[in-house]
Subunit: 329 residues, 6 copies
């Protein structure tokens, strides 16, 4: 069991389930609990905060839901012919949260990022949210760990998340605003893929334009193809920053595909486009970390479609990552 | 509160909800209750009738569901860079219905159309059904208001709605038949987009052919692209009629996208195609009125995907409309 | 009522429901219960076994669910302008099952196939499962009926179903393995369309390669188009075998489209692609039989999207079949 | 198949399902389809009308739901040691309905009652609704068949159903009013058990008092015990009328027990009380007929608790009836 | 529309719906929006806070859900023969909340209580939560308005809500602790009805004993009868305090009756017991205010059983209140 | 982690979750994984078999569901003032199952019982099923461990479970029959509480009578009180046998209380009665072991009412057990 972290608690659920077939290796069999000092390639960190969500959300339950879901996924990916069994994958547990002190929760997240990355040899951190408010303290924490590095954000989201911080404080509507206003990330180093429809106020579209945030609507993604858009976005960021942070808000999907993303919309992305994007982004050499947010498993149907999709998005990023380090190795 | 209408009652629910962010203007903040004599650009009229549906339906609850949903939509549309705050939008309330006298309900609808359009300077009426039986009295009412105008119908639907009137009277399976047989609209002035599969009897396909109804299957829409099909349909109607009436039956969507449309089918349209069509149709200069029918909010899941989609279809038509009148203005 | 079969019992539910419109002929009005000796074109056989499923499944309830659903489908298909009323369609009832003796259930299935095909003039059998374990005894039965015929399998599935038979016996993870190991079908005479993602172990991908199983991932289907892939698969099999058996595992669909397929996945096929494939395969002259498996109606939502899709897939195959025999006739 | 009725159509669904155990006789095995002229003890008549319901209801689907549910019930009742296999039970099918002409539906019901009772030797008719509006034409039909007989009503319901007929016509809120105003049943020959809470307007409570309707609130039932109240009600009616008609509105149950009764309420009866009442009433020698109404199976959860309860209520009445005729025999 | 409050915003939803029957007066027709200075008997105040809940909750949506539900309830109560139309009932709107500053939310609640009670002649305030954390600032506010008054609490709840304030701050697990520790209410002036089972830690049972909190388990309520227990509790408090505050946590109900109370338990109260208690408490002359908490409408099934029950509990208290002031008047 | 068992595998899920409050000890914090040789008071053994169920069931998932639910329960029981923290409680994991060989599954269960009880000092075993077929091999295993001991069964169930073994083999309808026919338990040493309604065939009621099975219907339980019936049943068994085995089939509950028990019925027990019975039985000195069966968590609603109830039933038995050994100690 993981011991010695200050801002991280062991995972509340451990799934050891196998497929009942000795040849079928599942993700749940690969993932080990981390202890400070250990080395691994990929580290999962649960960030069970959703009381900073504007609308009520149980996204805080998502790290546990994803942990339970690992039993359902083989380590091997047939689309890309990659076996994640080649990676050492660790679960560092969940960031410690407080019931009623949201600022302290955000501070704990930032500290946990610093602690996690300082307690191990370099690894690829995957933050499992939680609502989108967590992205701001996570990226601030990454910045503290490697201060000299310029960070860019590749945001896959149906919203800009650029709301003003005065009306409600740092919520799931504000992470990009918070990063820009705090000087952590320049607006022009943010690319947002998937915004569309009647889900962003004109005022924030204007703010995005003023700050130089680059964005692609779902409509544009659909017309040009997700591959072209992702490649363009990565090329843009690659030329400007030292490290790219990927944040995936599950509400970028059409509501039929993500009933459990509280703000998913009609006309959003299809799962296949998001999965393709995830793999493509995973291969990016400057990709430094990622998060997955705004997935409320309490809203999922019995088929658990959104949880399965969220878990698969993470796996597809890791497949790209595995291919890249295999090539580099 | 709206007073003075004879065939319309005030909306049973008024949603005033805002986003909790002063810069984020929601549709619920724009829509005003109408009083006779007032001028506005767009007028919503609820038509809460679903006891004329062949299979049981709670589409009568849809006007209320849509009214509650306006809180979820910003006035600004990012795909088309249009802000509906530029429009004056009014809610005229619901057509008065009777519990057990369906012919009287249909008569009330026709009278309410005449009354609504006679009580205000010209506006773009949006009828929120209700089951599809309402389209027949609505269009008859429009015809009475402007008798000399030739009306064409652009029907987005998975069914022809051409059932015979003898076996069950004027139901949600008969609106197009009723309009043809009453001489209100010529069969050759009807274009239906989205019919397909095992959901239309051969006898009614033959009737459609005899009457010159033009139609596009979903399969054809998918092969040619929704834009091409919609443009062709609009060009066809534009050349033949003075005014185009749009009727959107939500069952044109694949059942995965519209679980709350009682007759939605596998293989139907995707939300993105319907949304694109809606905007394109909204820009049509001869578009005179529209309805949205066969959305039973009691069948929706917790994500309310069908209600959200229905509301967004209306908004996309209005975005096209707003762009057109902006250009004309 | 069907009498005289030994391994088949009459359907537990008979749906006689019509549309309430004399011109609208429904599938439930066409399908007749079979008695030994009768001639017909198409015969439905229910295979209500799902206790051989690895994960819990109520796919045993699917034959009844499909029978109830026939009331919802017109006999006429508008996409292909075919009326299935031209076919004589019979329901032979369900294969007799045992509560706790799974090997006997599998044996009964094989015997029922032999009995059904021996009791009637030649017809196109449609097996409604049930979990995927049923495909192995069905194809063995077909082989016994026409021993000299080489059988190929066109499998539409998100899994290879090539698990080893040692760890769990003949389950829904093993039908293709069972057919290969028993010498019933050569691995190189199997084509699988729709495998993808983290849902197949590396060991079984390797086994597929060793045995010469040909396969197309969903990703490839999406890039090349389902028509091209299906045509290529059919051409490949047509050149190699005497008879093609189609097995459709509903989990090939994206989980948004098939919530009731217990193992459906994010990124799977869309309904429209599966429906198009079904019709195309139905026209294949060497197509000899088909099954539909892994549809658990207890997991469907109120819209019954998966059951409706499964029924429509069968109908589209029959439309292709009707066109073919019309051309031949 | 039932033929020869004018106002009745054969049941759209026939369930022949058995328990898979030769010693376990299910209700579905006992019930036979009726043909005019046949003799039997009990006759089921489906009354699939719910478009006369004030709020949207799919109670029209209940006769089919109950028919499917007979597979779940043994013929033997352990509580009362009665085997319904001793009774001859027939299904006469459904009353013919019209899609949009509600008055014609009500007229058809009345005619069907006359036809059914005139086409067979005397039997105990069980009407499976449908919404509560059906009770009025049913009782009128019974009155026509036996004009000289005074009929009393034992109504188990959370509402008086005494709404005025002017505001909405004959709906599910008016059956008792309709019977009183038409002179079919005197108000003082109606006893209502189960009214309570904020679910009846003061005006109608006053009307009940004026007309001499006798009623027991749920609170009184709970305090005195359901046995005492039912016995008192039966004694009261027995002394006053020639024949007692039982009408059970499923909304008399607490909403936890009857989620599928659209108007069930908190604080209503528990299943055990309703079941006990049903048996007690079934033994009443003057009991002449019964109905079960306002059960919308589309609202039931997967456990189908309300449908199961509704079916069991009917069975408990029949157990009482079987005991009575056994004693008389 | 309500204007002039500083800590209260107008209700986001106004339901004006009637029953469609002129004689059937519904609660939604009685309730008026309040403006400062107006006089009324009963005032509803929404307290839409649930981010202070330990487990995720959408109880913040409950005030809106209850407002929508008023359309379903007649003003007349048949059990007690009381018509609430005799009362003047006002809706003062919702307390202003902040998205991420929970302490500010609690401060706003306290201020809103002071403001509401200071802005009108005396009335009976009904606070519609929200999670149980709101009770602490509400009672503190009441204390500020009438400082000299001793307040006792009658808590109907399955939990003590006496958790320590150090581990999570003022959450829905701490309101009674907060009131005791702040000196607002003495432990011995708290009576809790409904605690039971494995839902309270031993440490807090001991704290309750130390502080003199009096409590009745559900088991005791069931054995002695809810009437006796409530009467004893009221007598105890009446003898000790000047004013009694009633707080109803919906999780006191058995989970079958309150699926939408996030912490409802097996073995809890039945609706009928809670409803009887509510009326009995409403008649208490020292009853000064009440709240209803921990009802998350997002968890309710389609029958909305928990919302309906919550609304009816409030109405039963008001019926008792109306009877009392009628007697006093 | 548990190692060294041959017929038991470690629990696939380990829940370590705490309440976030240092003073609130949860069951998940008490339960330790067992290793052969260890001593403890109570041992949980998962029996994840449900493919022997007559109707489809996912009761195989129940051991995992119960393990996850331990996080929700405090160790302290307020009703009986008992803290289970006084007990040493171990989880021995799950019995090894086979996918398609049901007889081998049953054999494994019997062997696992022998192995578990032979590998540790005496403890109270709690078997978490699974379907009811598991009771037969469990009791056979217990008999093998202590051959000289006469075993009696206290069955809380809505069915006799005495179906003949010829029609379907050893299923969830046959455990009592299997125990009688194998001579493991005499029919007269079986007491069944909770049978009722139309859910038991007459043939099996007669078999029960012939074999001397003693039974109490729910109706009798309700009339006499659950305490009296349980006491009488225990006294009867205590006088006749050396050891009492308790088997709780969750379908004994009314379907409103146990939607996830596939065969729960209207009119069944209420949770409070079952919970009271459980505690009373737990105090019985001859109680030697127990199981909990036929709980399919896939059928539970979001409130997880049935899983919570099942877990609480086990806890109440343990509270009785703890009180008893405390008294003995």
């Amino acid at each position: 069991m993981a011991e010695g972290y200050r801002y991280l608690v062991p995972p509340p659920i451990v799934a050891r389930g196998a497929a009942g077939d000795r040849l079928d290796v599942r993700m749940s069999q690969l993932i080990r609990e981390a202890a400070p000092g250990q080395a691994f390639d990929v580290g999962f960190i649960g960030v069970p905060l959703s009381r900073a969500s504007i609308s009520p959300s149980a996204a805080s339950e998502n790290p546990t839901a994803i942990r339970l879901a690992w039993r359902l996924f083989a380590s091997y990916n047939l689309d890309y012919d990659v076996d994640l069994a080649a990676l050492r994958i660790a679960d560092l547990g969940d960031v410690t949260m407080h019931v009623t002190d949201i600022p302290r929760c955000h501070a704990n997240i930032e500290e946990a990022v610093v602690e996690a990355l300082s307690s191990h040899p370099p690894f690829f951190p995957v933050f499992i949210g939680g609502d989108h408010s967590i992205t701001c303290p996570i990226v601030k924490g990454l910045k503290r760990v490697t201060p000299g590095r310029t960070i860019g954000i590749l945001q896959v989201d149906t919203h800009f998340d650029l709301r003003n911080l005065h009306d409600g404080g740092p919520s799931n509507g504000t992470p990009m605003r918070g990063l820009i206003e705090s000087g952590t990330v320049a607006g022009s180093n943010i690319v947002t893929i998937g915004v569309h429809g009647h889900f962003n106020a004109l005022a924030y579209k204007r703010y995005a334009d003023e700050q130089g945030v680059r964005y692609y609507t779902v409509r544009e993604v659909r017309r040009r193809g997700v591959e072209a858009v992702v490649d363009e976005a990565l090329a843009y960021l690659r030329a400007r920053v030292d490290a790219i942070y990927l944040t995936v808000d599950m509400d970028v999907l059409d509501v039929a595909f993500a009933p459990a993303a509280p703000a998913s919309t009609p006309g959003g992305l299809a799962t296949w486009d998001l999965l393709e994007a995830a793999h493509r982004i995973g291969r990016e050499e400057k990709l430094a970390a990622m998060d997955l947010v705004c997935l409320d498993p309490h809203r999922d149907g019995r088929a658990q479609s959104t949880v399965k999709t969220g878990a698969h998005v993470v796996l597809n990023v890791l497949c790209g990552y595995a291919q890249r380090i295999r090539q580099q190795g």
